[in-house]
Symmetry: C2
Subunit: 408 residues, 2 copies
């Protein structure tokens, strides 16, 4: 890959070659970060060439991705999700210029498709035909879907308590699903052992630096959709830290390539019931402390984040701000997004907007700010919480008198 | 509208002006069909101009749509759903050239978004600020979502037995939901009375000829995505008849405009437990007979179809074929789509593929045929049936011995 120079450890700074199976730092075990030759990329990538590309997927930004190409296997259409100008919601939140990036409009209905699509291509590069992870959430379903499209096998390890609906989705995509009679810790451990034993490709996010390179395409799209005029802020919900790390990486790449002239300040939103990253960021330390997982937003309920370093760097380097939100604020943001803009978000997907509302109300961000809020997953993924949030319909008998009374 | 000549009754042939609130035929009550000036359209629309359009929504085919424009209100990104080349699934079904049109990748996750987006624009043309329908299904959620985006109010009438999850989705979009203590018949009647009484815009499919004009954009896209080289067959699931009517209308428009040189034969797929349209079509009569609604595919469980005339015409005029499928065949097709292609379909969305499988196996269609199968809705809409279909995961203890045994 002419555009990639190596993989640098986020802890000790060691640089190793970027192979498809490059995992954590051989010296200190730190998470790696893929590095690029921005001078080379600058000579290849500009606004004009981009405009002329007909590829309407995340792969349209090939020069900024750690792959030679994506081969000939079938792919789901990942990326190029809509960016909606949200005047009504902006008015309600008191924000002058607001856009919603609806990443629930991906094939398996979450931003994770960007990471899984990348993982599948890297697995093929490594000559693997099976790819594995431990998860019951969006990572698992996106891996199962993207692997199925490409004709790869997926092995997914889930703790026995996993909800049936989520398992059904995995099974529909033909994944081998192993229901592990134990805790999530047990499940992760057995998945790691099995990956070693059978040599499968590893899609566990903390181990694989390429996943974030897939996720960063959300920022490349936001920039292109805004004509490379950057908003002041980008709000994103934060769980294990991989997504905000990817969001930052995308903007950093564009900045280094000269395609944008500043990096938006990131608004890192966590649930009040589970906010180890924001707590550390607010205290200005890298020493985060594990927390319990008390929130309805399951996709960001991560008490022991796997990517705290990249997340904390992203917040600090973007001069970002942190906001924590209650479950009530999250459920209320779901209603706001739906009723003002026709966007149905899962709780974790609406958390960013909940945080934005709070930041605007408390004066943390300026009234004339321009903001993009990212919706990371679709509400159909979690209908139970939608029911909690939705409120009650109007009951009537099939008689006009009842309706007349209601409208009076 | 320079491109529209009028609205013709599908029963008596009377032509009336195409106003936004044009409803059924004033003489006989028949459903109307919007008619175009194809000569004019031919002078305006060609492959080259289309190629250069950057609009990646259903509105890119403006010359073939019954609107002057879509105004300045915000819109969801409807249409331009992916068309996947499905070699693996084709191999499994014994079909040489197969594509999947995944219309579950629309904003509210079904093809109905095309109709609702059109309804919202026509409501605005008519100067209405409220739009109404009776339904609990995809029509209702797509209306609620598309109306919310545009800042219109939606009133939705649902029978009291409607599932809570579906109501939650409607409420999230800020629709006024009226839970009617009565049958679906009662619900429809009170909605019609209320629409009359308060002058709302009517999105009930049998009454409003524009909805089908929205739906037909699925065919315009299929044609463009295939470079205007038509497949031999297009398979589509059929309930009240509006969707297959729209699919046919799209191809007919393209044929009349000279953009394609033949109309694909339609494969009309209904559930064996509810197939009044296919039964009439197979008997070569327009006299369909109401049936019970015995199928898990709720979106096509329509015993009294509202658009039988257009559906039966579509089947006959395309030299189409009819196939009925059992619930088991539908659930099996869901697994096939998911595991071979990474496409998660709701039961009604998979029915077309189930019918295609049956048609291929029984020799109804040729082995070297080229086929597009349309997936009309996403499986996340109906997780319960996915659970029914999915099968059981593998149970293990968190010990390698269990895995070793499984793989032996």
């Amino acid at each position: 890959m002419k555009n990639v120079t190596g993989a640098r450890c986020t802890l000790c700074g060691k640089v190793v070659p970027a192979e498809p199976e490059t995992t954590v730092c051989p010296d200190c075990g730190g998470i790696l970060d893929i590095e690029y030759d921005y001078e080379y990329i600058r000579s290849e990538l500009g606004r004009k060439p981009l405009e002329q590309r007909t590829d309407r997927t995340m792969w349209r930004y090939m020069e900024l991705l750690p792959v030679e190409g994506i081969g000939n296997r079938p792919r789901l259409r990942v990326g190029c999700s809509p960016l909606y100008k949200a005047e009504k919601l902006g008015g309600l939140l008191g924000i002058q210029k607001l856009w919603i990036k609806d990443d629930g409009q991906n094939p398996t209905a979450s931003l994770k498709d960007r990471a899984s699509a990348m993982a599948v291509v890297k697995a093929e590069e490594a000559g693997k035909t099976t790819i594995a992870c431990s998860s019951t959430g969006n990572a698992a379903s996106s891996l199962a879907g993207n692997a199925a499209a490409a004709g790869l096998s997926a092995c997914i390890f889930v703790p026995a308590r996993a909800p049936k609906g989520k398992i059904a989705q995995l099974m529909m995509f033909g994944a081998r699903v192993f229901l592990v009679d134990g805790s999530y810790e047990d499940t992760f451990r057995i998945s790691a052992e099995a990956i070693d034993r059978w040599g499968w490709y590893n899609r566990n996010a903390a181990i694989n630096p390429y996943l974030m390179e897939g996720k960063k395409t959300v920022s490349l799209e936001i920039a292109e959709q805004l004509g490379f005029v950057m908003p002041d802020y980008v709000a994103v919900s934060v769980g294990d830290g991989c997504t905000i790390g990817g969001v930052y990486k995308g903007f950093k790449d564009l900045y280094e390539t000269g395609l944008i002239d500043r990096i938006p300040r990131l608004i890192s939103v966590q649930a009040s019931g589970c906010c180890p990253i924001n707590t550390a960021a607010a205290a200005g330390t890298m020493d985060w402390v594990p927390q319990e997982e008390n929130t309805c937003a399951d996709s960001i309920a991560v008490g022991v984040p796997r990517n705290p370093v990249k997340a904390l760097n992203a917040i600090r380097e973007s001069n970002g701000i942190t906001v924590n939100v209650s479950d009530e604020e999250i459920l209320s943001a779901m209603r706001l997004l739906g009723s003002s803009s026709g966007v149905f978000a899962e709780p974790a997907g609406a958390a960013a907007t909940a945080g934005l509302k709070k930041a605007a109300e408390s004066g943390l961000i300026e009234k004339d700010a321009s903001v993009v809020t990212i919706v990371t997953g679709n509400g159909l993924k979690d209908v139970n919480n939608a029911i909690r949030s939705a409120g009650e319909p109007v009951h009537i008998r099939p008689e006009m008198a009842d309706l007349e009374q209601y409208f009076r």
